[in-house]
Amino acid sequence: MIRSLQLQFSNRVTETPFFFARQDARLFGLLHLPEGAAKPLAFLMSHPFGEEKLWSHRVFVSCARALAARGHAVLRFDYFGAGDSSGMSAEASLDTHRKDLQAALAELQRRVPEIEQIGLIGLRLGATFAALLCESNARQPISPALRDAPLVLWDPILDGDAYFQELLRSNLSTQLAVYGKVVDNREVLTARIRAGGSVNVDGYEIGKALLESCGVSTLLTTETKHHTGPALVVQIAATEAQKERADLKALASSYRQGMLARAAEQPFWREIKPFYPRASQLQELTLRWLDEVTGAAPAESVGAAASGR
């Protein structure tokens, strides 16, 4: 039996944790609802992979609460094999993530039937999954709520092969720390996965299905996108002086209404010395951009927001 409990968070926002089904999986969700009628535009948040989700969790919570305080319904959920959802990461794949997003979309619409549009906000690999779903929807409609909706991509992963090779480095670091040497190098680890085994990265097993579907250099291309809604691509770097990334610029340009912005934030999806309950600059520039593209408020330059002015 799956139960949920609705609780009044404050006079302005209600937060409801619950479980919902996706075929034979049980997914965890948390719905942030504003007081009174929610705005027609709601948001679905797509978290990053593995331990990046746990490190960045509070940044997601803060952003969801800020959106809900502005009148938007927001659904955060855990992918299969992550957080409180069922399953293990070794069983996940690009396909399971796509199905999870679709199930979360449907659940959001079921719980808040008055919403008309659902914008996606994703971080890292979660941003990639969000972008890919929007592209699938543009080619073959999955949900009319996605059509023309805003898409926010925080530090999206374009080259899946490079990303997973970077993840495997974490396994190497663990080997070095505990064995004093690297016993199995990246080539051995990759071969193990491709042979049907799995490799542990910070407690999460990476299996063949995930590596073969997501560990490709062309995971998210810069080819012309079919999604017609506004798209914000955010480059996150520790300093504002960091050079603009050409690949993210090209990604933003691939959208009809794409824009690249830069946010000066620490890599809060990893272990860093500062405690990071919110990414203030990232959150502010995202909210300002949403105001601009939805006509909710007088347009103030997102470029100004990106530089903290």
């Binding site: 039996m1 799956i2 139960r3 949920s4 409990l5 609780l7 968070f9 937060e15 944790p17 619950f18 479980f19 034979d24 999986a25 049980r26 965890f28 948390l30 331990e51 746990l54 490190w55 969790h57 509070r58 919570v61 992550a82 957080g83 409180d84 069922s86 399953g87 293990m88 069983e91 663990t174 720390a177 505990v178 064995y179 004093g180 040497k181 542990n200 910070d202 407690g203 999460y204 097993e205 272990e271 860093i272 010395k273 500062p274 405690f275 309950p277």
Partner: protein, 316 residues
Amino acid sequence: MQQAGDVSAVTFSSGDGHTLFGTLHSPAGAREDLPVVVLLSPGVKMRVGPGRLYVPLTDALVAMGYRVFRFDFYGLGDSTGELQETLLADVYNNIEVGRYVTDTRSAIQWLRENTHAKKFILGGLCGGAITALLTAEREPDVEGLLSLGMTVTLASNAATPAKYLTRAQLDSRRQGYYRRLLQPRSWWRLLTFQSEYAVIWRSMKRLVVKEKPAAQTPAAATAEQRGNANPLFPPAFFAFLKRGGRALMLFSEKDRLQSEYEEKFAAPFADQLRPYLPQLQQHIVAEANHVLSFTPWQKEMVAVSCSWLQSLHGAK
């Protein structure tokens, strides 16, 4: 992997007025005579624990017939409230001196009222373990501690690591320095004042100077005398043991927490600890790191935890 039984997403109020979010996992045939196991988050990670460590543990305990509860402390995970610290080390330090005891007692009270639970086992890794102990000191219904890496020190002294490293940590560091002797980058760091010179000195000094074992720190010791030992740990641990509490003290071999427990508590307090040793089961997971990342380590942790609980309650 579908979990049998019932799982509920819940919210409840803490004693400080925050709204805390959690999940209650109940087996299909829950044994009402068994205590509820409450797994407490370490550090700043949410209720599933680092690397979702608590998920396989929860599944195994539920399969044995236990109800398991996990929740987020205020200011973390999904719960309300805001923490004011700017550095992670300071967040850890405040956890180690009991910040989340109130939240944990509120969770226990919620479980009493909503599950009719009468007894509890509190467990967790690192910050979760010390929160469990400090709560157990105040809650007589806590009959056991499932400690997956008990911390007996204070994190804020991470700013001066050389001063407080254990002998085992210094020996490990020295081995690391030997391995890096042929790395130009390491020499560059040494010559450009980026190295931890005090740590290097102390680790090398051990080769020629025999250090005396740490003495028991008097209760009235100054901060300087106690070093980075958590002054709350010994009295809380002895109070828990004195009333008959039992504990699984599981450590990871390659984790500083194990050597810190031995050198900063078990050795200096050996005489006081001796009568209570039958109440303690100690286990070290060979080669494991702080968060038990690799699956074989997790499996061993789960197996040992289940075995310990079975020895307590005969659960199958």
